[in-house]
Amino acid sequence: MSTAVESAEPTAGLGLRGWLEAFGSRFVQGEVGSLPVIAGIILIWAVFWFLNPNFLTPRNLTNLVLQLAGVGTISVGIVLVLLLGEIDLSVGAVSGLCAAVMAVLNVKHGVPAGLAIIGGALTGTAIGFVQGTWAARLHIPSFVVTLAGLLAWQGALLLVLGQTGTINLYNPTIDALTGNFFPSTVGWLLAAALIVIYALSGLLRRRRRARAGLRLAPMIEFIGAVALIAVLSLAAVFVLNSDRGVPLVLLILLGFILLFDQVLRRTRFGRYVFAVGGNAEAARRAGINVDAIRIAVFALCSTLAACGGILAASRLLAVNQSSGGNDVLLNSIAGPVIGGTSLFGGRGSVWTALTGALVISSISNGMDLLALASSVKFLVTGGVLLAAVTIDALARRVRQTSGRA
């Protein structure tokens, strides 16, 4: 409908404003998806490469992946919470606390690394369950509950760490989480597997649609998507193989993203997350247990925060009093928003955790290479976040007005 309006308007005569309006209405229709943020990443990379050619070297890009994995994992959980139209301000503190729990279990109590990691993750689950129950059952805004959590879990972190304040990690399994790289053949095989699975599942879906007599998207679009996935994954493997190889941690992050992407788009639970975020009252009337969905999402978010904290600890090979502090919280929330997940609930994708983390980490990494002061770094990241939130708010306003038209 609005496409008809759009093509009827002579956009050429309106210049930049017309183009922006046309773009805006396509943006509203969700036709552009991740394109703006991908364009943003390309622009950022081009600028930094121009300023310092070292930016686009395989070594630096591999470091970039290692840097963003922890926060990216936390962001996957944040996407879930944002889709509900809620917020979780405790993810930073939870990531630090759960990493400390893992470290204490492993180092002080001699618990095997695998069990210690699971223990840390489950601590996150328990925290999220409590916070979610509190917010959902007592109808307290999640903003406040998790703000209280932010303070409380920071205190708990100091408590768990005890007198020493820092616990160094020596365990090879924990180190391997971020220290392991796959041999180049394995990297190529992983990329091939990804492409084949993507293409096969797409073909299967097309066949099912054809059997049901439903309209199919043009074949060329499907081939284009497969080609894009193939080029991206092969290029990534090529670059990573030129340095140390595909890092295990990238596989972990992609695993979380693919898992939750499927859960959100293909299961009842995922559908209900979107429904509650879009219109909680409508969801309730449709018989959906809104409280249960909220509690489950907060539990998942804190679990993912714990996993992110464990990855960060593995990279640092230590847990200390500032684990999960500093800008972890803000970056993990800013990422998905920059990537295009709406702060108002009901709109977004798990992939924005990755694209947003790429933007933030690229800026931070690039500025480090240029030896810029952290003042500049914070200012620029803040500016990018503000721009992303503004686009989200404007898109929402356009949606509301175009919805009535």
């Binding site: 409908m1 609005s2 509203v28 229709q29 969700g30 099912r208 649609r209 059997r211 049901a212 007599g213 439903l214 293909r266 299961t267 009842r268 559908r271 979107f274 429904a275 975020g277 879009g278 219109n279 009252e281 409508a282 969801a283 009337r285 449709a286 018989g287 959906i288 009901g346 709109r347 949606r399 175009s402 919805g403 009535r404 038209a405």
Partner: protein, 264 residues
């Protein structure tokens, strides 16, 4: 009455409901026949919404009984009512704007691709297209989000959702409020198609033009009582307005009105 000789699909007898000191409904009878559109009209505070909420199972009446297809039914909540085939479309439509039409039609009743926990999108989309086309509801695509639909299309989607689960009675709360002329037409046509399929339709409306166009019978509530019941062919707009407002226009007020006025 236009529907003599048939049995009502839904009957309410002697329904009373009070909220604190306010008597919202007093001894109200109401009935819908299959293949009939009944308008429920009345001024603000006349008890229309209370009556509809009672039928929908949201308000539990203080007194009175509900009979569905000849059998008395016990209503303890909205689920009891929807389960037997009474669907309600509220004014706010209860659609999720961010989801597409198929997702909204199936919200809370998603089909799974057994034994996987995955949604069976193909089967849901296919049935959605079928239902929408039997109701002649035209949408840009069943995969467009509700946010991108017009008001009439949204209303039609909400109605389609209510009837797609074998509803026998549909309650529509102000279905044409806030719609433009063309969109009102779409919705009125849809209501006629529901009637043609043999459903009992109850329409709450303030718009007498719509009421006279689409309804077979007009039930008027005033101050919590049923004061009039017109066959639409035998009534004039003035009579209906008189019944709504309680104005006495020389002998035009129907007999029920006099009776109702006499009881304290």
């Amino acid at each position: 009455m236009a529907t003599n000789g048939r049995h009502p699909i839904l009957e309410l007898h002697g329904i009373s409901k009070h909220f604190g000191a306010v008597q919202a409904l007093s001894d109200v009878d109401f009935e819908v026949y299959p293949g009939e559109v009944v308008a429920l009209v009345g001024d603000n505070g006349a008890g229309k919404s209370t009556l509809v909420k009672t039928i929908a199972g949201i308000n539990l009446p203080d007194a009175g009984e509900m009979i569905f297809e000849g059998r008395p039914i016990a209503v303890h909540g909205p689920r009891d009512v929807t389960r037997i085939g009474i669907a309600t479309v509220y004014q706010d439509l209860a659609l999720c704007d961010n989801l597409d039409v198929v997702s909204n039609l199936y919200l809370g009743r998603e089909e799974l691709d057994e034994p996987l926990p995955a949604l069976d999108e193909e089967s849901m989309e296919k049935r959605s297209i079928e239902v929408l086309s039997t109701l002649s509801v035209k949408l840009p695509s069943v995969r467009s989000t509700v946010a991108s639909l017009s008001g009439g299309q949204r209303q039609s989607t909400a109605v389609a959702r209510s009837v797609m689960w074998d509803a026998k009675v549909v309650l529509l709360d102000e279905p044409t409020a806030a719609l433009g002329v063309a969109q009102t037409r779409q919705v009125l046509d849809l209501i006629k198609r529901l009637r043609d399929r043999g459903l009992g339709v109850v329409v709450i409306s303030h718009n007498l033009a719509d009421v006279f166009e689409v309804c077979d019978r007009i039930v008027v509530l005033r101050l919590g009582r049923r004061v009039a019941d017109f066959g639409v062919k035998d009534a004039t707009r003035e009579q209906v307005v008189a019944a709504i407002t309680g104005a006495d226009i020389g002998g035009l007020v129907p007999e029920d009105e006099m009776n109702a006025g006499a009881t304290p």
